[in-house]
Symmetry: C2
Subunit: 364 residues, 2 copies
């Protein structure tokens, strides 16, 4: 995800990232696997593999004898060669996870945050949590950085928290900069839902198509993975999916409009009818499918995961009932495989993605 000009160093990073994506997705792989996946020549793949092996990111893991002929060398990712820490900053709690290069969550811890916590209080909590996690296995040397997934609005490109909703002390806080200084680690700041969908994409590898993470947790948000990358929108503000109107004559929402998905859903929950709430959410999900034509829908969030089966059933049925879905069409619906860790884990993977993912070509 590092920004580079379009010179040969881009090719280097790009093709290395492709091989890493193969290694992350498949338990083991060999040269021919990568050749097929990338379209590169075998010789080029050999060179890439040699570079990654020298860096300790992958390693040989035996040979495969395909019957006749010289055996093929089998490679595997070295999961514990690099780690990243992810933080999910919510209104009252901080969740930290330790993630390895393969995307596996090694540790997970939740600690409370003071009501209306300040940037300083968050930094202190982060410092304590990171020291605990990184200290145990002495990972300092292999720690790539800290990813922070947080409620918005924020400015991901400049690492700025614009105006975190419901938090008084968070107006135009340059969180990335002060966290990097305070913690001595590279820091990546992003919206919570964007971090979440990155987790799903990173674990699924390069074949992961257009997808959304639907998160129900003190509000309803959506994280999007479109065209092989996170979609953040023009001002890092994409995903306010809960504030789309689904009922023109519905109750007034905190955002000022009437009949937002979030308020309609909330009323159903308050009335004790979770099944109805789930069906309301499902209407919103199908709206997304109609608009964006997604291949995957992932469900997450504390409030949703209290009734996982109810929501999964409602959304799956609504998606299948959508008459426009023909034989050539399909959308998978699933609960997040990472559960409550998905935001924090995704934030961590954004750090790994910066180093070992597809480099971004500099824009404009």
């Amino acid at each position: 995800m590092t920004r580079v000009t379009a010179d040969v160093t881009f090719l280097r990073g790009y093709n290395q990232a492709r091989v890493m994506a193969v290694g992350r997705t498949a338990r083991t792989f060999e040269r021919a696997t990568v050749v097929e996946a990338t379209g590169l020549t075998p010789q080029a793949v050999s060179k890439v593999i040699a570079r990654l092996t020298a860096d300790g990111l992958i390693r040989p893991a035996g040979v495969r004898r395909p019957g006749i002929g010289k055996p093929a060398v089998v490679y595997e990712l070295v999961p514990d060669s690099r780690y990243a820490i992810g933080a999910h900053v919510a209104r009252r709690s901080l969740r930290l996870v330790l993630v390895d290069l393969a995307g596996a969550v090694h540790r997970s811890a939740v600690s409370p945050l003071p009501r209306d916590f300040t940037p300083e209080q968050l930094l202190d909590a982060l410092g304590v949590g990171i020291d605990t996690m990184a200290g145990i296995g002495d990972l300092r040397g292999r720690l790539s950085g800290l990813g922070i997934g947080m409620i918005g609005p924020l400015d991901h490109a400049n690492g700025l928290v614009r105006d975190a909703h419901g938090l008084r002390h968070w107006h135009d806080v340059p969180l990335r900069e002060i966290a990097e200084k305070h913690l001595g680690l590279p820091v990546h700041l992003d919206k919570d839902v964007t971090a979440g969908i990155t987790a799903e994409a990173w674990r699924h590898g390069a074949t992961f198509g257009d997808a959304a993470l639907i998160m129900v947790e003190s509000g309803i948000g959506g994280g999007f993975w479109l065209g092989g990358a996170a979609h953040r929108g023009a001002h890092t503000n994409a995903g306010e999916f809960g504030h789309t109107v689904v009922d023109l004559s519905g109750p007034r929402c905190v955002c000022g409009r009437h009949g937002c998905l979030e308020i309609v859903h909330h009323h159903a929950v308050e009335a004790g009818d979770v099944a109805h709430a789930a069906r309301v959410l499902a209407v919103g999900v199908v709206n997304l499918l109609q608009t964006l034509d997604l291949a995957h829908v992932v469900l997450a969030g504390a409030d949703l995961l209290r009734h996982p089966q109810t929501y999964l059933t409602a959304v799956t049925e609504a998606v299948q009932a959508d008459a426009r879905r023909a034989s050539w069409s399909s959308t998978t619906v699933a609960l997040s495989s990472l559960g409550a860790d998905v935001i924090a884990a995704g934030a961590a993977m954004q750090i790994l993605d910066r180093h070992y993912g597809i480099p971004e070509l500099s824009p404009i």
Copy 2:
């Protein structure tokens, strides 16, 4: 937009496309302009410019004397060095346009199509129209191809019309293949709204951010430009924006759901209340902004352009009233500068984009 592996030929195409984008956006440019825009070294830009000049795509256009020092050579795009033809295939009509390399529309013509026309009838109409357009200026040698923008569902990657809505003879028709054979030209097939947003993006250049084209014309559709490329979704079916539910207790739509934006809007139009219809559409547009955080909204479509000011006002007001839009946030709302030609022109530009746009790296 050609697919290549990540080798040095990609760099060549990528940087050439960047320079072409500069030339298309600015009337004239010089080496320093491109250096700033691309991050390349001046020497590298010189090489790219030399290649493009040799191909006749750009040419010197005088010098600029910046006071002291050697004058800088000024370059310009050669608009009439390449042309493409775009077709907008609707249910009852075929619109053809001739577009030059700069994105300017030179000719535009509409002809009726028979009710329930067959693929053969469309091919004949295309053949006649193209001969007329290309024959006038003897453009055969400079014609890059034909772009077709059409109602879906269709499969853009394979050039297949899946099941054109409301047309009986269009089930799994390999339109791209048979058109290429019949017309002897490269053909690109895409959904109408996707072609439309490509027109806007192609004319605005590399600085064009995330955007949507809202089209009201026998239904409501949306074309999306996200992250510097058209967003088509997992099955080339993105943009069925008219079939998102905005009124849970609304009337039943042809798609089977209740309270779709399209049916609610349609009822308002039938009742003669265009202003109300425009406000309904505006609710849908703000829903899109909440979800996708767009920088630009472009309004188009025959039914909308019958009351351009009504719709423009309603959407602009709704976007501005959206309380979440803060000082750092902004979204432009505009009518399509190409009017009724936008779909056909965009289809033509997709052909030009294939040759002279940013090459796509091969996926998976």
